[in-house]
């Protein structure tokens, strides 16, 4: 396997423009002769499907939800970055690019990040044109706020529901194309297998989740925009349905999986309360604009927060990172929270929590302003915890939230399987070892609206396609593989629920491949996981049949894939014998406890190639070169 990123030559600020000119175009009247499959209907998938349909391609879009409007992009709260410099505070495309590369601890590909920063301004314009109701100032112009890892205000937002409003914009564009007959939408359809014919991605096998029927869809190219795999930890801020199956099937068909161990643990989530818990809820990073994070200075201080005087509180982020304070990047803020809790200074019923306090902000700005900015988040917090954050500080703790790793893609967003494109969180491309807040929405829409519509044409125009017959051996093999797997899951009828396996997997990974990792822990996890997987296939209980709506079967298929992915994550974490961004190996830290990179050995992307079940995958390397930023020690002090 050869990893060729195909980054265009020339100065970084000219690469995308030059590439767009050099790419082959498909004649407008020929576009209708091509068919494209898009799996996923979030910002990347829904946006991409709409954009490609507008160009005239025939698009089929699939999602597991009952409507494309429900993709998990909808849950993003805080905002979307764009280098508009509307604040006149020194922002620019180059600064957004720099912040993103630095935020990712120098483990992202420069050229992709620069392009992302470039198209960020187009995204805002496009969304405004669609009628996205961004927050505005009294003069009628767009408002901004700050997010972690940046010293400029470049985040656009729509109350605490930015993801919802951006997704509805993309969904509305998609519905318009559905109405025009340019997109055929298949909701409640879940991808089960990728079809590769003569080395190129040519289709998918999907399950109709209502009837259980397996359907085969063939096309000229396939785009996966199926989001991240944060649910591998079981407890995560992801929607319950988010899964790795689409990209995992593609991995097993030959697409390289890059940096699987780069998983983001978000610092501000509502803590776990009990074993029955099914998910964790994020409290937007935007809250750190005005909320101050603290724990008691003394260990085991059980007094209620309002009884703890100022001089007995440790505002540890402000103390440790005076320049960025509470707006330190997510990986740093999460690790700091874990450490104070490990020291025995955590708060809340379990001792795994820290305070996020708005007392000073309310005194400074008034309750009304806080309510205007964060009202819905405060309400959500109160609904879940039964506590009023206007009166008592919120209690928060880190949780699995986002995955920077994903399928490896080149500059055109094409995986190592020709014709298989990967968009949004499902790919690995832009965030390196840590994603900054308000950058996921930017990447999703950037990939969907402004990158894939160009690069897909470049692929289609260069290739020749003849129809794949329905009975082609590869098609039949893919169908049979899915049918056999379903049959096998249903035949076990064991004694353990699917969820119990998922929970156990999550605990192993959270413990050994979460916020801190080390050789011993990872080796221990790698020792445990094969046994858990084996037990799953012997003792899982999946009731019902394959010819009906069967939610247990859906979940079982996803957990089976998570069980395999978890092992690859640990392997990747073990082999990356350095600390960088989210990947903190306790063996590699500075004297002050910060991540210690090893640029000599690990300034690269690790992309894993599947070599068969039960065999160790091959690790390939794409070296990262930094020509436009200095490879420096990341500092937020």
């Amino acid at each position: 396997m050869k990893l060729d990123a195909r980054v265009p030559s020339g100065p970084i600020e000219k690469k995308w423009e030059k590439h767009r000119f050099e790419m082959k175009l498909v004649n407008p009247s020929n576009k209708r002769r091509y068919s494209i499959i898009v799996v996923g209907s979030g910002l990347a998938g829904g946006g991409g499907a709409a954009a490609m349909a507008e160009l005239g391609y025939n698009v089929r879009c699939f999602c597991y939800q009952d409507s494309p409007r429900r993709a998990h992009s909808i849950a993003a709260q805080g905002g979307i970055n764009a280098a508009k410099n509307y604040r006149n505070d020194g922002d620019s495309v180059r600064r957004l690019f720099y912040d993103t590369v630095k935020g990712g601890d120098f483990r992202a590909r420069e050229a992709n990040v620069y392009r992302l920063a470039e198209v960020s301004v187009n995204i805002i314009d496009q969304c405004v044109a669609q009628g996205v109701p961004f927050a505005r100032e009294y003069g009628g112009l767009l408002d901004n706020r700050s997010f972690g890892g940046a010293q400029v205000s470049r985040t656009f937002y729509a109350r605490g529901q930015t993801g919802q409003q951006l997704l509805l914009g993309a969904y509305q564009a998609l519905e318009r194309q559905i109405g025009l007959g340019q997109v055929a939408m298949y909701s409640r359809h879940e991808m089960q297998e990728l079809i590769v014919v003569d080395g190129r991605a040519r289709g998918v096998v999907v399950r109709d989740m209502v009837t259980g029927e397996l359907e085969t869809h063939l096309a000229d190219a396939v785009c996966l925009a199926t989001g991240g795999y944060g649910n591998v930890f079981y407890l995560a801020t992801n929607a319950k349905g988010c899964n790795t199956t689409a990209i995992w099937r593609a991995y097993k068909k030959g697409a390289a999986f890059a940096n699987p161990c780069f998983t983001q643990i978000h610092p501000t989530c509502i803590p776990v309360t009990g074993e029955y818990q099914s998910k964790l809820t994020l409290m937007s990073e935007s809250l750190r604009n005005d909320g101050r994070i603290w724990v008691p200075k003394a260990k085991g201080d059980k007094r209620p927060p309002i009884e703890i005087p100022e001089d007995e509180r440790d505002y540890y982020l402000e103390r440790m990172y005076p320049t960025y304070g509470n707006l330190a990047p997510r990986d740093i803020a999460s690790r700091a929270a874990k450490r104070v809790c490990d020291e025995g200074r955590g708060v809340g019923p379990t001792g795994r929590g820290v305070y996020l306090d708005f007392k000073d902000a309310i005194a400074r700005l008034g309750k009304r302003k806080i309510e205007e900015n964060y009202g819905n988040l405060f309400e959500m917090y109160q609904r879940i915890t039964d506590e009023n954050p206007y009166e008592v500080p919120m209690c928060i703790y880190p949780a699995s939230h986002y995955t920077m790793g994903g399928l490896w893609v080149d500059y055109d967003l094409m995986s190592t399987i020709p014709g298989l494109f990967v968009l949004g969180e499902a790919n690995f491309s832009d965030h390196g070892a840590n994603r900054l807040g308000a950058s996921a929405l930017m990447q999703g829409l950037g990939d969907g609206y402004f990158v894939i519509p160009h690069t897909i044409g470049n692929y289609l125009a260069r290739e020749k396609f003849s129809p794949v017959p329905d009975d082609h051996p590869e098609v039949v093999a893919a169908q049979e593989a899915v049918a056999a797997r379903t049959k096998r899951l249903l035949a076990i009828r064991g004694r353990r629920s699917v969820t119990s396996f998922h929970r156990e997997l999550g605990k192993i990974l959270w413990e050994h491949c979460g916020m801190e990792r080390n050789r011993k822990g990872l080796e221990h996890a790698l020792g445990q996981l094969p046994g858990l997987r084996e037990e799953f296939w012997k003792n899982v209980n999946v009731p019902g049949s394959g010819q009906e709506l069967n939610q247990s079967l859906e979940v079982a298929g996803r957990v089976a894939d998570f069980l395999e992915l978890g092992e690859l994550m640990c392997l990747d974490a073990l082999e990356r014998d350095e600390s960088c961004g989210c990947h903190f190996r306790t063996e590699h830290q500075m004297a002050d406890g910060e991540a210690k990179r090893d640029d000599q050995k690990f300034c690269h992307v690790a992309a894993w190639e599947h070599t068969g079940d039960g065999r160790k995958p091959n690790r390939h390397v794409e070296p990262l070169t930094y020509e436009n930023v200095d490879l420096a020690v990341r500092s937020y002090k």
């Binding site: 314009d125 405004v128 505005r136 009628g140 409003q165 319950k240 809820t281 004694r495 629920s497 009731p543």
Partner: protein, 259 residues
């Protein structure tokens, strides 16, 4: 705490449904309502029974996937709260909870508590958008929008498309859902060029899908987890009347333009 559940079970769209009673004996008040169902389902599955099918996804009140009628109220007893954010502390030990799917002809039952809401998508496809082709939009700050308009548009745009309004309405009307989108786009300058056409097409589609009409009960607003107000229905009606009056003029204008 302990609660008794009377749950609507229906094998598929064609099968006849019925209520089945289950005892949930180890309920923690801190559990969400859906987590309580998860626990019931885990034990059903291990006993070899089909678990209760229900729709859910984000479990934080924003995706609009979940939604069941609990004791006659869509999303249950708590105001402005989706079923996924409803916690068992809202109920008392010994309560009997009757759990049903949304009931509306336009939302056929798929299985148990799962219904088919694709009619909402078809209403959206009929005109719930601004035809702003991707690429080349002007700078976002070119058109200033008064904050009050933008805020009001956002109030309407907050709709999560869950369908509780339809389930709550004695006529199974989808007017709150449709009006929210028409108001969101109609309040913004970007939505003006297609404003009349939008209301005509979306209302026509809504009627064709078999939703009832609005008779001003206001149950929809009371059930809406996002507190979308019925005043948006008044806005939609006003737009609809205006569109009727301007229809002929606009179409003849178009014909002249084409000539």
């Amino acid at each position: 705490m302990r609660v008794t559940l009377k749950v609507w079970r229906q094998k598929d769209a064609k099968a006849e449904g019925r209520f089945v009673t289950y005892e949930a004996s180890e309920v923690n008040p801190e559990m969400s309502f859906l987590e309580m169902l998860d626990v019931v389902n885990e034990s059903l599955a291990l006993e070899g029974e089909d678990p209760i099918a229900f729709d859910h996804d984000c479990r934080e009140g924003i995706c609009g996937t979940c939604g069941v009628v609990i004791n006659g109220r869509p999303h249950g007893p708590r105001e402005r709260t989706t079923a996924c954010q409803l916690h068992m502390r809202s109920f008392s030990d010994g309560d009997v909870l009757t759990i049903e799917p949304w009931r509306a002809d336009a939302f056929p039952v798929v299985r148990d508590l799962v219904v088919d809401r694709t009619a909402f998508d078809r209403i959206m496809a009929a005109g719930g958008f601004v035809s702003a082709t991707i690429g080349g939009a002007q700078d976002g700050n070119t058109i200033p929008i008064p904050k009050e308009d933008s805020d009001l548009a956002m109030d309407a745009a907050a709709c999560i498309g869950c369908g509780a309004c339809v389930a709550a309405c004695p006529n199974a009307s989808a007017m709150l859902f449709t009006a929210a989108k028409i108001s969101h786009l109609g309040l913004l300058p970007q939505g003006q060029p297609e404003r009349s056409e939008r209301v005509r097409s979306m209302v026509a589609r809504m009627d064709a899908e078999g939703f009832g009409t609005c008779t001003n009960h206001g149950e929809c607003e009371a059930a809406c987890p996002k507190a979308i107000r019925v005043e948006f229905i008044a806005r939609m009606n006003a737009d609809f009347v205006r569109a009727k009056f301007t229809a002929g003029r606009r179409e003849s204008g178009l014909a002249e333009g084409n000539g």
